[in-house]
Amino acid sequence: MVMFWVTILAVSILLYVLLDGFDLGVGMLFGLASDEQRRHAMIGAVAPVWDGNETWLVVSGVILWGAFPVVYSVLMSAFYLPVVLMLAGLILRGVAFEFRSKAARMRWIWNASFVGGSLVATFMQGLMVGALVQGLPVSGDRYVGGEFGWFSPFAIACGIGLCVGYALLGACWLVRKCEDEVRDQAYRLIPYLAAALLVILIVVFAYALAGDFAVMTRWLDRPSLFVFPVIGMLAAITLAASVHRHQDALPFPMVALIFVAAFGTLAISFWPYMIPFSITIEQAAAPHSSLAFMFWGEGLFVFPLMLLYTVISLTVFRGKVAASTDHY
């Protein structure tokens, strides 16, 4: 039962990263769009699906709360300010979708909210992951690091890294969904974003090595982990080739694969801890009666249904946006 919920939690977080990742990325790139026509196309590439994408954040949050309450309580209290700021960013970004189209003179406010909100939310997510990798001070089942226990240069670097990563994901989504200038601009950005991401990854890795992070010993102890960087590397090569040949459909799945590889690396290097290295999965799990009740209803029936909704909405809105906007 515990294993089942760890798996579902991991899948939900990964889906969130991939799905909301691309629309947060589009949100950040939105700031680079030079005219209203391009902004319109970019919004159109994410508007019908962003709400469903963001659902996976809430899904991950409530699985964490219901199935692993100790971890939820430690993480949320430890990351008080980053969570508040992330939520603030998500609020501003979320209303911008609806409000932008209703505004006339004030549209610039919602354009700015869309970019700023996406940027802040992404940065905070990366920062939290970084702080978690570096290690949070926990005693018993409470966080004891104070209100700024998450602050470190490493966490900041991870925040920046995720911004670049999501922007890359967003650029590849735009290549897939848009045409003409928006697609061409995205194609031009991808090499820069990919190079920047690589540099940040190297810096972060070197920093972790130099700082002798506990997570790093896992890496050296478990050489099988290096299968993930290899997958990531192959995906990166395919990405470069597909961008070079302008194969619109390929870059997005390749970046997604890079994210899956990175996610797998993190997840397995934490194992069996949920908060490294103080709270294990077993210690964090809710009583069996809670896990079983979740399993028989939402685990067995509703979770597959949710995957189905996601597939339905991505299928209904498949294909290039430009070709389908004239119905409005």
Partner: protein
């Protein structure tokens, strides 16, 4: 009152939950109304229903967006400000909220995209299905939230294990007796909110002499529904009182400002409770046995007074006392309006009676006020407990949270919510003012910058030609 991290956290939760509840209570009703309109449109083929659907969908989209973003905040705020609470109640409340997210939130979010953008891409039956799924999602959401909140009011089906509330009887938790009066009460509140907003909009257009055919449909459907639902709502409100008497005597005594035990009890209609001296000033009171009759359906029931409860277990008296009376007052006004309006409508005089039209137009805040004050009564009345009788609010907070940090987050949320609320209301107002315009589409060349959204720009909308309405 000293400003502590606890007080600030309570204020923050009260503020965000009050802000949030406005939108679901509006959109639950609207989603049901949209489903009715789409069904009628498919069944009768009358264009007026389609025009109304498209019109209300735009308003729904704005309100839903505000509801979603403020709802996402709530799920995380419980962990940030109330970490001990979230750790202890996670095995029950986290599980219930995960059911809410899985069954409701995901359903809404999954089909909302189809509702807003999918009409040209899916067959009509699937579009109606998507509308119904969004409506079902909003209703399910309220269902799980009410189960969850009812557990906080009357905790059942658990044992305390390793400092956590471990569920040992899920049937008891879900079929908690109080759920079955509280959930319908909330759902009816949402339907009434939808009904009065729709009726008020219809009345407004009739007063302005615009969109007559659509306005008449809105006014009639809204008022008829309210005429049936308000009495039912009053019955469920009364049933709610019974659980309060049985399980939460301190809340009941505060609502009634009853300081001493009485048998049979009198009923304070209006007063200014003087908490320091434990008495009521300027009281208008019905003599015994009215209090017993209203609270316990009995001529000689004993009713508990505050002085038989330790003062440390008292809720704040003034808030439940006044918010309850405001809620009931709104209910009485809504009942009068719905019945008078329905009577006049049956006689065929309603559209000419400007007094009643004005009253209907001005009635739209009533259900919102009633819902908010109802929540204040229930939630403030639950204090000083977060889980009634078991866990005090003061023991539920994040232990190391300081005043400064709590203040920062409170300011962040207040500022952002005020900002988006002001714009949201402005945009909804502008959509309402523009009214239900027809669906004849302009050539895309006219509007090269047309945003891909559920809603047209009003200036663009004004350029559209209206379809002939059905009536």
């Amino acid at each position: 009152m000293e400003i502590t991290a606890l007080l600030l956290s309570r204020l923050q939760f009260a503020f965000t939950v009050s802000f949030h509840i406005i939108f679901p209570s509006f959109t639950i009703g609207l989603a049901a109304w949209l489903t009715v309109l789409e069904t009628l449109h498919l069944a009768t083929g009358r264009p007026a229903y389609r025009v109304l659907f498209d019109f209300w969908l735009k308003i729904f989209a704005v309100a839903f967006g505000l509801g979603v973003v403020s709802g996402v905040v709530m799920a995380f705020e419980i962990g940030t400000n109330w970490s001990d609470f979230s750790r202890m109640t996670g095995p029950i409340q986290g599980v219930l909220l995960s059911y809410e997210t899985f069954t409701a939130f995901a359903l809404e979010a999954g089909f909302l995209g189809v509702l807003l953008f999918g009409r040209p891409k899916v067959p009509p039956w699937f579009y109606l299905f998507s509308t119904a799924m969004v409506a079902l999602g909003t209703t399910l959401s309220a269902f799980w939230i009410m189960i969850n909140n009812s557990w906080m009011q009357v905790p059942v089906g658990y044992v305390v294990e390793n400092g956590m509330f471990a569920p040992n009887d899920w049937a008891k938790i879900i079929f908690n007796s109080v759920v079955w009066s509280r959930f319908p009460h909330m759902l009816l509140a949402a339907y009434l909110t939808g009904a009065f907003c729709v009726a008020a909009t219809g009345a407004w257009y009739l007063l302005r002499g615009m969109f007559i055919a659509e306005a008449k449909i809105m006014l009639r459907m809204g008022l008829y529904l309210a005429a049936v639902l308000v009495p039912v709502q009053i019955i469920f409100g009364h049933l709610n009182g019974e659980y309060v008497v049985r399980y939460q005597p301190a809340k009941m005594a505060a609502i009634e400002a009853r300081w001493h035990n009485e048998q049979p009890a009198s009923e304070v209609l209006l007063a200014w409770p003087d908490v320091a001296n434990r008495r009521n000033l300027f009281a208008i009171t019905l003599p015994p046995p009215w209090g017993s009759l209203i609270d316990s359906d009995s001529l000689d029931a004993a009713e508990v007074g505050l002085d038989s409860i330790p003062e440390s277990d008292w809720p704040p008296i003034l808030i439940p006392f006044f918010s309850f009376r405001i809620m009931v007052g709104c209910g009485v006004l809504m009942l009068a309006l719905a019945w008078v309006g329905t009577y006049l409508s049956r006689k065929g005089h309603l559209a000419r009676n400007r007094t009643v039209l004005w009253a209907t137009f001005l009635s739209f805040p009533l259900p919102f006020v009633a819902t908010l004050t109802g929540w204040f009564t229930a939630e403030v009345g639950r204090q000083p407990w977060v889980v009634y009788g078991v866990l005090r609010t003061a023991d539920a907070m994040t232990p190391f949270l300081t005043r400064g940090t709590a203040m920062i987050s409170l300011i962040v949320f207040c500022a952002i919510y005020t900002f988006i609320f002001a714009f949201g209301i402005f945009y909804i107002y502008r959509l309402l003012r523009a009214g239900p315009v027809g669906r004849l589409l302009p050539p895309t060349a006219v509007l090269p910058n047309r945003p891909l959204s559920a809603v047209d720009r009003p200036d663009a909308a004004a350029a559209l030609v209206r379809l002939p309405a059905g009536e």
